[in-house]
């Protein structure tokens, strides 16, 4: 139990690194955006892992509830809830840019786009 107490944070680190790796090595712009999404999801996991309290429950307090119930931390949840919706909106903006690059260059591979830019 003690050893596995940090497992969430290790998975956060691994997912973050997988996303970073994809952004650096993949020349395809759509794939880079998918990598950024994984990177972003890792950070969501970090925040939500912090909200957990042992023996706690979701922070919904019914009227007239007993005083001794433990609730998990609502603050990281609020931050991440809105971040998810903002994240999909910015991803959509990135995808729109990918579509426009495809129309302007005929390809969405970074190396080809750069070499076409150099040739001009």
């Amino acid at each position: 139990m003690e050893i596995l107490g940090l497992y969430n944070y290790w998975v956060f680190a691994i997912l973050l690194l997988i996303g970073l790796y994809a952004v650096i090595t993949k020349p395809n712009f759509t794939k880079k955006l998918i990598g950024l999404n994984i990177f972003q999801a890792a950070i969501f996991l970090l925040y939500i892992s912090m909200d957990k309290v042992d023996g706690g429950t979701a922070p919904i307090i019914p009227h007239g509830a007993a005083k001794d119930i433990i609730y998990s931390n609502p603050v990281p949840q609020v931050l991440i809830l809105t971040a998810i919706v903002v994240g999909i909106s910015t991803t959509a903006l990135g995808l729109a840019l990918v579509v426009r690059i495809r129309e302007a260059y005929g390809t969405i591979e970074e190396d080809k786009v750069i070499s076409m830019d150099r040739d001009q």
Binding site: L6, K52, G56, S72, L81, V86, T91, L95, A96
Partner: protein
């Protein structure tokens, strides 16, 4: 028992993320990100974040997959170039790994109630919400009332993203009845009929999530994406042209602006009534009742804005003419 489930979900997430990065087929990668989001949503639920789990399931596994597929249909389904810059990637990934893993060693273990994050404002929110706001869901109270100013900014970020997508791709052109280019999946009878039966139920669930958000998990962000997912399903089944005739993208964009305006308007009203920005206590003679009214109004604005933005973005991709 729950720890086994949690370990399984986390491990599966790593496996799926590796598969997403490894596959050269972008269609497969988009579908796998849907699975990844679903695992993430289940994991959020295990970590007591019911509101976030609902949002991640609706956004990540629903709407995001459709956006990726829309963009892939307009660009390219396969990666053509091989991976490169391995040296740089190795250096960046290895150095980041060292820093982060050293950092996590100092973290309080999962579920430690005495961690610093639980000592600052969170206990105050948990203690004062029943008294000041009088709604059961503390996440809604913090999102809509205590930190309503942040949420206002986020709604405008979402609206700005829709404006950006529209200025890059343009409003989709409306085809008339006779030269409609696609009729969606209406030739697939089983999908068509089962899908159409589901749409009203999804919208009903979305409305429940919207108006029950003060009492249970839910609120404008979740409801907006759920309702948008139902209407995207309709557009997929009946064809984009038909969906755009019934709900023109210009109207949808106007509704997104109206949603953001309702939110900002509530803020302006509280200022005019002599309170602080988005301090709903002045909206009614009874402060708690004012809070209820304010939260309901701004959640409605958020729901309207988010649903309309998601649909506007979907139609911008789906109705874009391939050049």
């Amino acid at each position: 028992m729950i720890i086994v489930f949690s370990l399984f979900l986390l491990t599966m997430m790593v496996v799926v993320a590796l598969a997403v990065v490894e596959t050269r087929n972008l269609f497969a990668a988009a579908m796998l990100t849907g699975i990844f989001s679903f695992l993430m949503a289940a994991n959020f639920f295990v970590l007591d974040a019911a509101d976030v789990a609902l949002t991640e399931a609706a956004v990540g596994a629903g709407v995001a997959t459709v956006f990726f597929l829309g963009a892939i249909a307009l660009s390219s389904e396969h990666e053509h170039s091989a991976s490169r810059k391995f040296g740089l990637a190795l250096l960046a990934v290895a150095s980041t790994a060292v820093v982060i893993l050293l950092g996590t060693m100092e973290f309080p273990i999962l579920g430690d109630g005495s961690a610093p994050v639980h000592q600052h404002v969170a206990p105050w929110y948990l203690e004062k919400t029943p008294e000041l706001i009088h709604v059961p869901n503390v996440v809604t109270a913090v999102l809509a009332s205590f930190r309503g100013y942040d949420t206002l900014g986020e709604v405008f970020v979402v609206l700005t993203a829709a404006i950006g997508v529209l200025s890059l791709l343009g409003f989709p052109r409306n085809n008339s009845e006779e030269n409609a280019v696609n009729d969606g999946l209406s030739h697939q009878k089983i999908l068509h009929i089962v899908g159409k039966l589901l749409i009203p139920l999804i919208i009903l669930f979305g409305l429940y999530v919207q108006f029950h958000g003060d009492f249970g998990p839910g609120g404008g962000f979740q409801a907006g994406t759920i309702i948008a997912a139902a209407l995207i399903l309709y557009a997929l089944l009946s064809g984009g042209d038909r969906a755009r005739r019934q709900m023109p993208p210009r109207l949808l964009f106007g509704m997104a602006c109206l949603g953001a305006f309702i939110y900002a308007g509530v803020g302006g009203t509280t200022l005019l009534l002599g309170g602080n920005l988005l301090d709903y206590s002045v909206l009614s003679h009874d402060p708690v009742h004012g809070q209820h009214l304010g939260i309901m109004l701004i959640e409605f604005g958020v729901g309207l804005a988010v649903a309309s933005v998601m649909l506007t973005i979907y139609h911008a991709f789906a109705g874009h003419e391939h050049r």
